[in-house]
């Protein structure tokens, strides 16, 4: 009996780390946009899920898995770059974390959500608001009794570790990273020193797009489906994780994303029946609400 319990715990831990890695990537991308560009991009998870829809369209027409995943990745970057000019007028006006960019991103999410829920169905691209993918990399890599680590989960975890390592290398060992840090500290001073702020913004959106694109690919592997409802929950969770960790805190956001994924996974598996899924989400929000109310600067401290 103990053995079975340990195996269940291990299975949930693996699952939690896999999902947590997606949360970590998204939170990192979000924090990067905030710190470098002063943009609270609430539509960022919607961009990720919308990329999955576009990938689904490619899969429907070609049946090619590699092309599908590549589409998800590239769409994540492309849509992220397309949204960048929309934030420019507001970012110039305010210091810190302007609420205006949050409101503007709400406009973007309304458009993306309507495209997924309504327009695509009316145009006959999709039959419903939920699109399904075939199971990708679902075979077991390592078996632990009843539980296992699948290829997909391994790809997600290793992919996240590599992405984050590259991101931190970029931030702290490259000229581009230095420009990110300079602009995030003082945009005007950075401009005076000759750092091209527009190019830096575009680069930041590109990097966030890469992280978003990777999240898109991992979500296809993990969930094998996409819907606007997923983006609703993803958006509030990612923002809540960012607040929980400390706004703009890149390493903090990553750690808290992983923790959140594991916590949620255990919660959902140990709560009985349907209430598991419902309360799994709600208790997570309660935890985050408590952080907002009692420790507004987050666990690791805000960087904005």
């Amino acid at each position: 009996m103990e053995n079975v319990t340990l195996q269940v715990i291990l299975a949930q831990l693996i699952n939690g780390i896999a999902i947590g890695s997606i949360y970590g990537l998204l939170t990192t991308g979000l924090n990067l946009l905030l710190v470098v560009c002063g943009v609270w991009h609430y539509a960022y998870p919607y961009v990720v899920v919308f990329s999955m829809y576009l990938a689904w369209l490619v899969h429907r027409n070609t049946g090619n898995i590699a092309l599908t995943l590549l589409t998800a990745f590239i769409a994540g970057i492309a849509i992220s770059l397309i949204t960048e000019p929309l934030f420019r007028p507001l970012s110039k006006k305010s210091e810190g974390a302007p609420i205006g960019t949050f409101i503007l991103s709400t406009g973007i999410l309304v458009i993306l959500a309507d495209l997924m829920n309504n327009v695509f169905i009316r145009l006959g691209f999709t039959a419903g608001s939920v699109v399904g993918f075939p199971q990708i990399a679902g075979n077991s890599l390592i078996q632990f009794g009843l539980s296992s680590l699948t290829y997909g989960q391994a790809i997600m975890v290793i992919g996240t570790v590599i992405s984050v390592a590259l991101l931190f290398y970029l931030l702290y060992r490259t000229k581009l990273g230095k420009s990110f840090r300079a602009v995030s500290q003082d945009r005007v001073a950075a401009q005076l020193l000759g750092i091209p702020t527009l190019k830096t913004r575009l680069n930041a959106f590109t990097v966030a797009g890469v992280l978003g694109g990777m999240s898109s690919v991992f979500l296809i592997i993990a969930l094998a489906q996409a819907s606007a409802t997923i983006s609703d929950y993803l958006a509030i969770k990612v923002f809540a994780i960012a607040l929980f960790a400390g706004v703009g805190n890149l390493p903090g956001g990553l750690i808290c994303g992983l923790f959140f994924g594991v916590f949620e996974s255990f919660l959902v598996s140990f709560l009985p029946g349907e209430s598991g899924a419902v309360w799994g989400n709600a208790i997570a929000f309660i935890l985050i609400l408590a952080t907002v109310l009692f420790r507004p600067r987050g666990i690791f401290g805000s960087r904005v």
């Binding site: 507001l90 974390a97 205006g100 309304v110 458009i111 709600a282 109310l293 009692f294 507004p296």
Partner: protein
């Protein structure tokens, strides 16, 4: 009056009331959607009290408005301390929590919703009376000494603190008022629709409210008053070939407004301009 027009007026009133609740707290630097949370309480609470427990409507109305104010008051001790953005995320999280709570209460119909709520004709009178009374109160608040304090907070919070304005207490007061207004909006909603489904109230209302509020104008109470009915009418009165893309239109409108005129269509400068022209 035709049923569609009555429903349109009543539901527009709901959005106007929610918008005014948001306006009150926005003027002290916080994005607050707690009035939608109390709207859920008002909608389910009043429907259940009247239908299941047989309470008279006025008693149910008073009870849920008080409950909404009390709950908003309790949460305001935390929300009043945090940044504008954290308040927004926290109150959005409340909506999802409310959804989970309602779904797990079988007496409220769970996921399916609560049906069979009476739809009396006097709801139209209640809606219009609420508009007049709440509008009157907010107008007087804006033009009072408290309103000037709110204006100072909106202009410069550090200046407000230096002048001795207790921003924390002010936020608590305004969030409590917004909670009461939200609960009132919830009563009008449930007795207009004849049913309540939390999944229709939560994120859907939130997004439309944000569009109506920020497109209409976030710096005065008139923006939401004029633009909530105008924009809401898109759903009902536009030709169906265009109406099906209403959300797309809303999203584009919001983006354009935030890029070009972040204060919204009806701003304070508009009133100053009109006053100057009248004085000439």
């Amino acid at each position: 009056m035709s049923g569609i027009i009555t429903t349109f007026i009543q539901l527009s009133t709901v959005y106007i009331l929610l918008g005014w609740g948001m306006f009150l707290v926005w003027r002290v630097g916080q994005l607050y959607v707690g009035s939608i949370f109390t709207m859920i309480i008002g909608a389910y609470g009043s429907a259940y009290l009247v239908k299941a427990l047989g309470w008279p409507f006025p008693a149910a109305l008073a009870a849920v408005v008080l409950a909404g104010a009390l709950i908003a008051f309790i949460f305001s001790f935390g929300f009043a301390r945090v940044s504008g953005f954290a308040c927004g995320i926290g109150t959005i999280a409340l909506l999802f929590i409310a959804q989970a709570i309602v779904w797990s209460i079988h007496a409220f119909g769970g996921v399916h919703g609560y049906f069979g709520v009476p739809m009396p004709e006097y709801i139209l009178v209640l809606a219009l009376a609420s508009l007049l009374i709440v509008g009157f109160l907010i107008y007087n608040l804006v033009h009072s000494r408290l309103g000037r304090a709110i204006e100072v907070v909106n202009t410069d919070i550090n200046l407000a603190n230096t002048l001795g304005i207790n921003v924390y207490k002010l936020r608590i007061t305004l969030q409590t008022a917004a909670g009461a207004i939200g609960a009132l909006a919830g009563v009008i909603y449930s007795f207009t629709m004849g049913m309540v489904q939390v999944q229709n109230i939560g994120v859907g209302v939130l997004l439309e409210l944000i569009v109506f509020f920020f497109v209409g104008g976030s710096s005065t109470m008139w923006g939401i008053l004029i633009f909530a009915p105008v924009l809401y009418s898109f759903h009902l009165f536009l030709p169906s070939s265009i109406a099906m893309f209403t959300d797309l239109i809303f999203g584009i409108l919001l983006i354009v407004i935030m890029m070009l005129r972040p204060e919204g269509i009806i701003g304070k400068d508009m009133f100053k301009g009109i006053r100057r022209k009248l004085q000439k």
